[in-house]
């Protein structure tokens, strides 16, 4: 039985006409030992709701930095980033955390599951942060894990799961609050070919069924080939 989870759009229709996110002239530089390193020089693109976008580029081209900016984990040095109609560059840390928790789901290459917690508990973490009561939280986590084909692994800890299973738990966690955007950083980078295919299929299927946009950073041409659109980063600039 599906469990309702409150989202920023609960009780109101989403503003479908505007793009989900718009990045304009975003730059990001770091200073290391007094030397300035420009990682993002000029990134401009937008992502529509429900759109699957692959970000490709060589190592060091700024893909992960861009993903951190899109995920509100990092602030751009310049330019603007509007997510769901909100100019995030002007937001305080608290609002950014809230927007991130409510609107963005993460899938990491190394899964980043909490080692000593069960699959059920891992999927429940974003729901804890969203203030979802215990029983609803458990029901929602169970529903998502079952949808990922992990109904028999609810109480397994990460070290008891295969890489593919761990990534599916991470995917369930990313979907737990029904986000509008899923950011996936090399989601198949640590998996074998069969698991990679399965994860990508589940990621895309779940995103489409929820009308969630996906921005996936990848080196894998097969993964990029399944996206609606590809954004290429070359020396910190989008093409």
């Amino acid at each position: 039985m599906p469990v309702d989870v409150e989202t920023p759009w609960s009780g109101a229709s989403r503003p479908d006409s505007a793009p989900l996110l718009r990045v304009e002239g975003v730059t990001r530089h770091f200073t290391v030992s007094g030397r300035r390193i420009d990682v993002l020089r000029d990134c401009t693109f937008q992502v529509e709701r429900g759109e699957i976008v692959a970000v490709v580029g060589q190592s060091g081209s700024g893909k992960s930095t861009l993903l951190n900016v899109l995920g509100l984990l990092d602030r751009p040095s310049g330019g603007s980033y509007v997510f769901d109609g909100v100019d995030t560059t002007r937001l305080g840390e608290g609002r950014r955390s809230r927007l991130r928790g409510e609107g963005i789901g993460f899938v990491f290459q190394q899964f980043h599951l909490l080692e000593r917690r069960t699959a059920l508990a891992n999927v429940g973490v974003p729901l804890v942060l969203g203030g979802v009561p215990l029983l609803r939280r458990r029901a929602r986590a169970r529903e998502l894990l079952e949808a990922m084909g992990l109904g028999h692994r609810l109480h397994s800890r990460p070290h008891q799961l295969s890489g593919g299973e761990q990534q599916r738990v991470a995917l369930a966690r990313a979907l737990s609050r029904d986000p509008a955007l899923i950011l996936a950083d090399e989601p198949t980078g640590a998996l074998d070919a069969a698991s990679s295919t399965m994860i990508m299929e589940q990621l895309l299927e779940q995103a489409r069924s929820r009308d969630a946009a996906v921005v996936v950073v990848t080196h894998d041409p097969q993964v990029a080939g399944r996206a609606d659109r590809v954004v290429e980063l070359v020396e910190g600039r989008t093409r």
């Binding site: 840390e93 955390s97 980043h112 909490l114 917690r117 508990a121 973490v125 974003p126 942060l129």
Partner: protein, 417 residues
Amino acid sequence: MPHSLTAGIVLAFAGSRANIARTILSCAGIVVGVGALIMVVSAGDFGQKFATAYGEANAGLPATLHVTVEGRLTDRSALEEDLVRAGGRDLSIYQNPSKTPMLRSGDQVFSDVGFLGVDPSLGDIRRMHLAEGRWFTEADLESRAPVLVVNRTLADELGDLTQIQVGSDRWLDVRVVGVLESTALDFTWYSAYMLRAPASEELLFGTSVDTEDEEDPYVLTRTSQNSYQVRIDPTDPAAHDPFGEIFAERLATTSWRWGIESVDDIWVYRTDYGDEVDAVITYLSLGLAGIAVITLGTGLLGVLNVGLVTVRERRRELATYRALGASRFTLFVAVVMEAVVVSLVAGLIALFGCWAVVTAAGVVTERLVSLPPGVSLGIPVSAVLIGLGSAALVGLLAGVIPAIRALRASVVAGLRE
């Protein structure tokens, strides 16, 4: 804010449960410190109760004065009126017999019994714990036989309390109306309180009222030292006069009425020593509490150390929380609360340990020593509250620095680890 707070607490509990080894490791120092604190408070509480019971039973309720008038009294009733006028609320004569009598039960004679002549009102001045029977009443004043209340040790030796006689030159039948619990508070091994009444007058004062003064039965000729226990208002300045001069001066203004000319013949001192015992216990408790606080401080450093190490080790986990939407405040609460949870667990372990030790000590003590009624070994509520409260406080203090460190860490760097 409430969401963040609740989420932080939920994550903290989950984290403590998931990291049992870390929790146990952090606990050790706190267990010792909190245990020491609980024991100090419990010992202080026991000492306080024991001292109060001892003092109230042996020396009187707060603000009890011992008044001795040296010399021959011409009018004892006038003296007793003046004792009340000087501020006495309750008063009782407190007189050793002029010649210590003996007790006889069948063929057995007891020559080493400590006697004390008293009035029924001594029951209002002291705490009397009766094992059997009752304390003296006004009705006993009419008794034709001397009336006694004896301690349990003496009662056990006497056997049948209805066949007792008292005497020095000749034997008189006595009535034993009550038996007091034998405690460490008894003034001698075999103790007997004798009611001041016409029937005991000769035994107490060494002369018969009939032969000396038929007009006033309280005129005494042979007794040169006259003692009283007088309870006054604890707020009376005389209660706080260490040398009893205030009360003695009050009596001296009218001492001519009872045949005493000089204030030097009137001796007054406060018998109850609750204040002194309180002071000793307070200093002792402060010293022991100081040691406990130092131990607790060491425990705090242990929790702090483990907290700092784990925050460094858990950078990726904490960064993951942030990526999943945890605010800085949530993370702060989670890290601090983990330390608080660890400390509280340690506090509970310490409490359980102390309870076990105190219960065992209570069982042993009961077999070896007879404690005054109402005084027992146990862990008072104040010790529980202070123990757990200090544990929580230590956790709070030990959690703040790791929490601040956790907030300073870069989320992006944490996710890369």
